[in-house]
Symmetry: C2
């Protein structure tokens, strides 16, 4: 009889197997994610997401690409066909905070019934427009409110907040990442 131990929708046996494999061979921990974005018109572009590298090989499980559009709302001279890049940044951070809590809570046996993550981020458009060199183009600050429900005590509730330290996108937003940009003729 096979017993599968699933907590918060996470297969703990597979999680432990992943950790064991990575501990035995750290090279397996190297992941490379990739996106391809095509400009359509004005603020409207389209990103295709499919291939990635991880656990020592190119992924072969994904059979179709994900397609994600970006646009700007009318007040930012777009046609509102899709969220804008700032909203996608908040989305990426929120999804990552959520997933990081869920996985690490599972590993600690903290069972969640629900998790909601609300984000707000403030931007001063003068940075993007180049009107004031003292104003950064990006978010000046971001606030996340995470509402969790489940049969956990107050100490475990506090622990859930600590688990966000493992979030890759929290790290990317909070700390510098080197970005190399090459612009070439097509």
């Amino acid at each position: 009889m096979q017993v599968t131990k699933i907590v918060n929708g996470v297969d703990l046996d597979r999680l432990v197997a992943t950790i064991t494999a990575v501990n035995a061979d750290p090279a397996l921990a190297h992941f490379q994610f990739r996106t391809g974005t095509q400009w359509l018109d004005g603020g409207h572009s389209r990103t295709t997401i499919k291939e990635f590298f991880g656990v020592g090989q190119e992924d072969t499980a994904r059979t179709a690409a994900f397609v994600v559009d970006t646009d700007e709302p009318p007040v930012l001279l777009g046609h509102d066909a899709a969220p804008n890049a700032g909203e996608y940044l908040l989305h990426a951070l929120a999804a990552c905070l959520t997933g990081s809590i869920v996985y690490h809570a599972a590993a600690r046996g903290i069972v969640l019934d629900g998790l909601e993550c609300t984000l707000e981020g403030d931007i001063d458009l003068r940075g993007f427009l180049g009107l004031d060199d003292d104003v950064r183009p990006g978010f000046q600050n971001i606030r996340a409110t995470i509402r969790a429900s489940g049969a956990f005590d107050d100490a475990q509730l506090a622990e859930l907040g600590e688990l966000t330290r493992y979030s890759p996108i929290r790290d990317v937003v909070s700390n510098p990442v080197p970005v190399a940009i090459d612009v070439i003729r097509a």
Copy 2:
């Protein structure tokens, strides 16, 4: 007769009007973007994107919310229902680099025929898994290749690369943003 000056799909008269308005009243430059993310199961969550504040008021133009799912591929214990948070981060950066070049090129009269932006980002999973405190959870580095076509000279091609300094998400990824996180009981 009304003459509309559109370059790269960007309405230049409206762009100039926006810059003029923000210069006259910098408070109009304050934007706040927001997302709401609900955990579904395991690595699967769903983000709703609708309301934002900008140009001195709550937006009323968006009549429906955008809904964006996140999941993990099987090798990261998900069901591959959607891109993961790392891929969305790259997508947000690529869309922002693209849009920033397009808008600022339009303002400078550089006409683009096409723009494609390919991104790669490297992550060492030991950071997320908490296996090595010396390994950051987030991307260790990101490389962007932008292929541009149009009737511009080599000096203008180089200028396109410089325009990415106005990209809000390039700033967010390259420089620290304060992130406040509250975890509360639902």
